[in-house]
């Protein structure tokens, strides 16, 4: 019988894009350098939180020392802890993986008040950065990506290259794209094709 390796390294979360990412510069890179920079954000803790009790939400907000966005299609926070509006009474909490966020909330709140779904294993996150980032997004979805409609701290849940995606505008030309892990390789290939005409660098 094969011995099961239970060392800490064997349990480390594996990237859904590990087999397809090639690092370097590709496509139509000019003397000015690439117009796009693409990388995977990994590993992340991605937690969906549902609650319809405003007091509970305030308590969670205090516990996490983070503000929840209440305006539709907006986000708050930074790379350390990002909170994305998903729908009425539903948010996505994203942070670099520490392994304690879910436990922290579960220990403090009744499971009938707060519903947590760990999506860390089910999502892949790609960061798209550069002056042509909006042009790439325009190829994949029909929503209005203009800066006036979709600026920093806005988010959209939409079909991007025919796949369900959450797009978080981190800054004017920086976007985090959350995609289902099972479709991540397909998405990555399509993204590379869309970015090729602008010249891109995979970091």
């Amino acid at each position: 019988m094969t011995e099961v390796n239970t060392s800490k390294n064997s349990l480390r979360r594996q990237s859904g894009l590990a087999h397809v990412i090639n690092y370097g510069q590709f496509g139509n890179v000019t003397l000015n350098g690439p117009s796009l920079f693409i990388c995977e954000r990994h590993p992340l803790t991605i937690l969906q939180l549902d609650t319809n009790k405003s007091k509970t939400l305030t308590d969670i907000s205090n516990l996490l020392n983070a503000e929840f966005p209440h305006t539709t299609n907006t986000c708050k926070g930074d790379d350390e802890r990002r909170i994305i509006w998903l729908g009425p009474n539903r948010w996505l909490i994203v942070e670099p993986e520490h392994g304690c966020l879910q436990t922290l909330i579960k220990n403090e709140f009744n499971s009938s008040e707060v519903f947590l779904t760990d999506l860390s294993h089910g999502k892949s996150t790609v960061r798209l950065r550069g002056r042509k980032a909006r042009d790439v997004l325009m190829k994949g979805s029909g929503i209005d990506w203009h800066l006036n409609s979709f600026g920093a701290d806005y988010c959209a849940h939409t079909k991007l290259f025919d796949l369900a995606a959450t797009v978080d505008c981190r800054d004017i030309d920086v976007f985090d794209i959350y995609i289902a892990r099972g479709f991540a390789e397909d998405f990555w290939g399509t993204l590379m094709d869309a970015a090729a005409e602008f010249g891109y660098q995979v970091d």
Binding site: T72, N73, L86, G87, P88, S141, G142, I143, D144, A156, H157, T158, K159, A164
Partner: protein, 99 residues
């Protein structure tokens, strides 16, 4: 290509939505057997109107909310959208359901 204006997310391609059904049907008050005909009507009977029709769609690739859509089944024009509790016919003065 239809553009549906989700009350929460804004204008989106109809491919992001899933058609749910007729929004004009009201659920009967209770489930006892004296209401069988009302339940049969609610579950199975649907009109096939030519003209304006109130429909429910779900924004399944977006906020996942149900959206009420007033659509012309003849021209596919989407006249108004709102939350499920909204009465779109009243909102659009001068328009009436043609059944």
């Amino acid at each position: 290509m239809l553009i549906i204006n989700c009350p929460l997310c804004g204008p989106r391609d109809h491919a992001e939505f899933t058609y749910v059904g007729d929004a004009t049907k009201n659920r009967p008050e209770n489930g006892d057997s004296s209401n069988d005909h009302a339940w049969y009507d609610f579950v199975y009977l649907r009109d096939n109107p030519k003209g304006l029709h109130e429909e429910l769609w779900q924004h399944s690739f977006g906020c996942r909310c149900f959206v009420k859509v007033l659509r012309n089944t003849l021209t596919h024009e989407i006249i108004a959208t709102g939350m499920p509790k909204d009465n779109l016919i009243l909102k659009e003065k001068g328009l009436e359901l043609s059944v």
